[in-house]
């Protein structure tokens, strides 16, 4: 599904460039659960953003189903993000003025889904993460775990091929962490998603078949026993 060849990412700013990723080579198979681990500020989130078409590599290529994400124009990248990729962020990134249901609907806006279908799909997605009864609540009225469930529903409502989660449990307590990990694992198992999870959490990493370790921009792969679906 993914094929990264000799990928480097350099950030130029304030006179001194920062190399976030250097000569990274990686393949991710369809339906795989890949955990990305490493110390803070070593390039994990950058790798996830390259996989999600949120950024372009400074060198090398990021192929997704044969298409080089670095060479797609902005509109094509937007379309790809709208259809193929689902994102889950550490800080949930919900729009504070919209209800849970409306936050989920936001993901269907670029797909030009009609109002009625948009609402029904959003409600179904919320029910899938056990938040059907909280559809009309604003993010501020939900707990951290519930907000992350809304964010997961928002990522899944468009039936993406890949779910990219950046520290999904980073802002949650232990109980909620297990809850969210179980939810993500269940969705990965049931939907046949490709799941890439950036995490510090070894509990999460243990569920992945492969772990990508990033240190100072360099990536190494550690194979684990394959996790059963």
């Amino acid at each position: 599904m993914y094929e990264l060849t000799d990928v480097s990412k350099r950030f130029d700013g304030s006179g001194r460039g920062v190399i976030a990723l250097e000569h990274v080579n990686l393949t991710v198979a369809e339906g795989e659960l890949l955990a990305v681990q490493g110390p803070t500020g070593q390039g994990k989130t950058t790798l996830l953003q390259l996989l999600g078409g949120l950024d372009r590599p400074s060198a090398g290529s990021v192929l997704f189903e044969g298409r080089d994400l670095g060479k797609l124009n902005e509109n094509d990248l937007s379309d790809l993000r709208a259809r193929a990729f689902g994102f889950v962020f550490q800080t949930f990134n919900l729009i504070p003025t919209l209800t849970a249901q409306e936050n989920v609907e936001v993901a269907l806006v670029p797909l030009h889904v009609g109002n009625k279908e948009r609402r029904s799909r959003a409600v179904r997605a919320l029910e899938e993460v056990d938040l059907g009864e909280r559809a009309t609540h604003l993010p501020a009225e939900l707990s951290g775990g519930q907000q992350q469930r809304v964010a997961i529903a928002r990522a899944l409502v468009k039936d993406p091929k890949v779910l990219l989660a950046d520290e999904p449990t980073g802002n949650l307590d232990e109980e909620m962490r297990d809850d969210i990990i179980s939810l993500l694992e269940g969705l990965w198992r049931d939907r046949g998603l490709t799941l890439v999870v950036v995490t510090h959490d070894s509990v999460v990493a243990k569920r992945a078949a492969r772990v990508a370790l990033i240190r100072k921009g360099h990536l190494t792969i550690r194979d684990r026993a394959p996790a059963g679906r």
């Binding site: 989130t45 950058t46 953003q49 999600g52 949120l54 950024d55 902005e74 509109n75 937007s78 379309d79 790809l80 993000r81 709208a82 259809r83 994102f87 962020f89 800080t91 990134n93 729009i95 504070p96 003025t97 919209l98 409306e102 609907e105 936001v106 993901a107 806006v109 670029p110 797909l111 948009r118 928002r154």
Partner: protein, 489 residues
């Protein structure tokens, strides 16, 4: 989703939205008020000009009397020069003469002017002065008193009383063309002339003159010693100096000026044609004095002129400054708001929203604030206009002597003196020049809100919203999704 998101976002930033909308509203309200005050000043100027110039007139064509013509009004009392009438003989004489200083010319001039390109309407007028002197001859001629500037005066006791009076008469086309000293729209009682009145003994009198002399429709008024039936009362603007209007043919007959007029009132098709038509008229009538409304407006002085200056200079710049400040504040606040929502826009882009859609969302918010500001601003503009109209003092206007005398606008009153057989000439016995010279025209300033200024207000509101929204949107659009997410990461 667009409107839900937009409405919720504005509600979340309620205070800021109110500041932006109210700032725009103040600027727009000021524009509407200044525009209304400007329109009011223009209306007042039009009233002043109308009182001197005639309704719908863009230019007047007159001819100055040449040196050695005209002269003082002479009353003939019979007998040969040097023969003094007997003491105790009563006398009463009327004289209907052209307004001093103005020459008469062929009425065909009006027809010639009407053929010029750009001329939309033309009418000829004959400005006359009806003067009457009555009294009793004394042993040594007239008494010395009584030659004041009032329209009527008399002396009593010895020497014998002499009564002098004068009023202005204008001969007008019996068929209203919508241009000239009198039009059908000014008739408040009775009727305007009809084509059948061309040489009839009928008159329309100004309401002020009618009140002064207790005239009403059906009354009679004497012009050149002939009784004319009053068929209409006209409400003339403040400053108008014409007392009675009679059909042009009748005026020419009574004044012995058959086929003559003293002024041609011209209306042109568009303001841009005025200069061309003026030039054409001066070309084909080299002796003509062509005065445009712009020429006359330049001669207007007094508080009205000051108000006009205030509206066009201070008011205009104040409104522009207020608008710029409002736009600036709105743009800064929008940019500030957007900078706090970078993560939000980064998330939307990560979800597949195109930059265009994000920009549209931000601009929609700016536009909504602009429209709300525009609506409130129009309300403030109406309120401001009402305040201007309610509290503005009555303005006065005085027309410079050069315009009043050289232009020869209808209604100029003059009674320059008398020359009596055997009694010699008494120049300057009494004089009543154009009222505008001796009495400033008073006009109440109104501030009518113009449809055009409402359109301008809406346009400015939309522009303000778009400007504010665009700057915010530019800020939102220039960051890629990863950079936007990193900003908070």
């Amino acid at each position: 989703m667009f409107f839900t998101y937009l409405g919720r976002e504005l509600r979340r930033r309620r205070k800021q939205a109110i500041v932006v909308a109210f700032g725009l509203a103040l600027g727009i309200g000021l524009v509407v008020t200044v525009s209304a005050a400007s329109a009011g000043v223009k209306t007042a100027q039009t009233k002043v000009l109308h009182s001197l110039y005639g309704v719908g007139t863009d230019m007047s064509v007159t001819e100055s009397a040449s040196a050695g013509t005209g002269g003082p009004t002479r009353f003939r009392f019979g007998g040969s020069t040097g023969t003094r009438p007997k003491a105790g003989t009563k006398f009463s004489r009327n004289n209907l003469t052209p307004t001093p200083g103005e020459a008469t010319f062929a009425s065909s001039t009006a027809a010639d002017i009407s053929k010029l390109k750009g001329v939309s309407a033309v009418t000829g007028g004959l400005a006359l002065n009806d003067s009457n002197i009555s009294g009793t001859f004394g042993s040594f001629g007239f008494g010395s008193g009584g030659f004041g500037s009032a329209s009527s005066s008399s002396s009593s006791g010895s020497p014998p009383p002499v009564s002098l009076s004068s009023f202005s008469v204008a001969g007008v086309q019996p068929t209203s063309t919508g241009v000239g000293l009198l039009t059908a729209s000014e008739i408040t009682s009775g009727r305007y002339f009809t084509s059948a009145d061309s040489t009839e003994a009928v008159a329309v009198v100004a309401s002020s003159y009618a009140t002064q002399h207790s005239l009403k429709v059906g009354s009679t008024v004497d012009v050149a010693g002939k009784s004319l039936k009053v068929v209409g009362i006209a409400d003339m603007p403040s400053g108008s100096t014409t007392d009675a209007f009679i059909p042009l043919g009748e005026a020419q007959k009574l004044a012995g000026l058959s086929g003559k007029i003293s002024t041609v009132y011209v209306s042109v098709s568009s303001a841009s044609d005025v200069a061309t038509v003026q030039s054409e008229v001066e070309h084909i009538f080299p002796k003509a004095t062509v005065t445009t409304s712009a020429d006359l407006a330049k001669e207007v002085t007094g508080s009205l002129s000051n108000a006009a200056g205030l509206a066009t200079n201070l008011g205009k710049w104040l409104a522009i400054a207020a608008l710029l400040v409002a736009f600036g504040i709105a743009a800064l606040l929008m940019m500030g708001a957007v900078s706090r929502r970078v993560r939000e826009f980064g998330t939307l882009k990560a979800l597949g929203w195109r930059t265009r859609r994000v920009v549209g969302q931000v601009m929609g918010e700016g536009l909504t604030l602009g429209i709300v500001g525009g609506v409130v601003g129009i309300g403030l503009g109406f309120a401001g206009s009402a305040l201007v109209a309610g509290f503005a003092p009555t303005l006065s206007a005085t027309v410079g002597s050069s315009a009043a005398t050289s232009g020869g606008f209808g209604g100029g009153r003059a009674f320059t003196g008398g020359s009596f057989p055997g009694g010699g000439s008494r120049p300057g016995g009494f004089a009543r020049p154009a009222a505008s010279l001796s009495h400033p025209v008073l006009v109440h300033l109104t501030a009518p809100v113009q449809m055009g200024s409402l359109g301008l207000a809406i346009g400015l509101a939309v522009a303000g919203g778009i400007i504010a929204g665009s700057l915010g949107a530019w800020q939102a659009a220039r960051l890629g999704p990863a950079a936007a997410l990193r900003k908070v990461g």
